[in-house]
Amino acid sequence: MQTHQAKRVEIIIEAPMEGRLTAALEKAGVTGFTVLPVLGGSGRSGRWTRDGQVGRAGMVAVICLVRPERLDGLLDAAFAVVERHIGVVSITDCAVLRAERF
């Protein structure tokens, strides 16, 4: 099956920043992303869990598949939002089917 090189960027970020992050991604020309729920985690700001919370507490994971040439624009956009916020960004090489979608 024909596959194409791409990058998988995974951004774990505070839920209240989700809207700003995805807006920035769209502005940077990212055509698609997927948001996964996060149950809990641990990092420099300590341990947390989603159970029983009411507000827009917690974090979400935003996954973007992009063509390699779009990566830098995406990272700049994401970084500008994430910079001062709790969260992590990781980038993996991947292959995708149907490259015309990215």
Partner: protein, 325 residues
């Protein structure tokens, strides 16, 4: 045996406190008892819808006219001013930096809707009536404190990010919209509307509130466990001194407005309580450098239980004594 025990429980408040304490102890003992996030959110939607609707229906029944506007204005002013007071106290009593102090101050200028809901139930339980529009005042007091706090933070170059999106998020946050919306629906449909859904929003209300307080105890307990050592003695003191100070300003405002004793008590509760839902989310966006453990622990782990156990009975007692109906 039962007689002795039952002394502790002559009113709804004891029941509410016991449920909160159960959650607190379970979390501190690291029990894996948890309320699913979706269930906790659904319960809070129920409480907001119910309290808003009942407030609106009560206004429809008794009328409101100018008094409503005056109370709203007073609430907005309190919410703007209380953060300044809180900020000054924090800078004096604690070693918190400007940004952290401003973030905490925002919470104390804003309100805790669960504290308000509990106080409302306590009043109902004791047969004390209050102005139905106090729920609108509660909604009006959610946001202004954030503005004051961001101003306080920015004076030191704290670089808060106050953009149009943030404004919308704050003013149209879920609890404000649902409170105001159901208040208006309650006002429009009045006693007939209330009748139709009373067996949903009135009858089970206190039981649902108890379950919600259990969850609050669980969340507060987990927060306290994770935040050991985050708060110094000064901050802890602030957490129990600020509520009565806030209540005093609420008392003054309530007496000036000529509210009923119940209304005065509720305004005291609003002024004394600290937000733990809307403001934390706003602070994460606008003041990302402020440490969330500090403000969440203070608001949910110190001030909320203080108001539940000591505050509400105190405010109700003072209000009924001074605001002779």
């Amino acid at each position: 045996m039962s007689d002795l025990f039952r002394l502790a429980a002559d009113n709804l408040l004891s029941l509410a406190i016991l449920c909160f304490v159960l959650g607190l102890l379970a979390a501190l003992a690291r029990s894996e008892l948890t309320v699913p996030e979706a269930a906790a959110k659904a319960i809070s939607l129920y409480l907001l819808f119910s309290i808003g609707f009942k407030g609106g229906a009560s206004v429809a029944a008794h009328g409101a006219d100018g008094a409503l506007l005056a109370a709203l204005a007073a609430g907005v002013v309190l919410s703007f001013v209380l953060p300044l007071l809180a900020f000054a106290l924090l800078r004096f009593m604690t070693r918190l930096g400007r940004v952290d102090a401003a973030a905490v101050a925002a919470h104390y200028g804003s309100i805790s809707i669960v504290t308000f809901v509990t106080a409302t139930s306590v009043l109902v339980d004791r047969g004390i009536t209050a102005e139905g529009y106090m729920v609108a005042v509660a909604a009006a007091m959610e946001a202004p404190a954030i503005v004051s706090a961001l101003w306080l933070a920015s004076r030191g170059g704290g670089g808060s990010r106050m953009d149009g999106d943030l404004w919308r998020e704050i003013l149209l946050n879920g609890s404000i919209v649902l409170l105001v919306g159901s208040f208006v629906i309650g006002m429009l449909t009045g006693a007939e509307g209330l009748d139709r859904i009373a067996s949903f929003i009135v009858a089970p209300f206190q039981g649902v509130l108890c379950l919600f307080l259990l969850d609050m105890g669980l969340v507060a307990g987990r927060g306290l466990r994770g935040a050991r050592g985050v708060l110094g003695a000064g901050a802890l003191c602030f957490g129990v001194i600020m509520p009565p100070i806030g209540a005093a300003t609420g008392l003054a405002a309530g007496l000036l407005l000529g509210l009923s004793p119940g209304g005065v008590a509720l305004l005291m509760v609003l002024a004394a309580s600290a937000s733990y839902i809307a403001v934390p989310a706003a602070m994460r966006v606008a003041l990302p450098d402020a440490n969330p453990s500090v403000y969440l622990t203070l608001s949910l782990g110190v001030t909320f239980p203080f108001n539940l156990v000591v505050g509400i009975p105190l405010y109700v007692a003072v209000a009924t004594a001074l605001a002779a109906g």
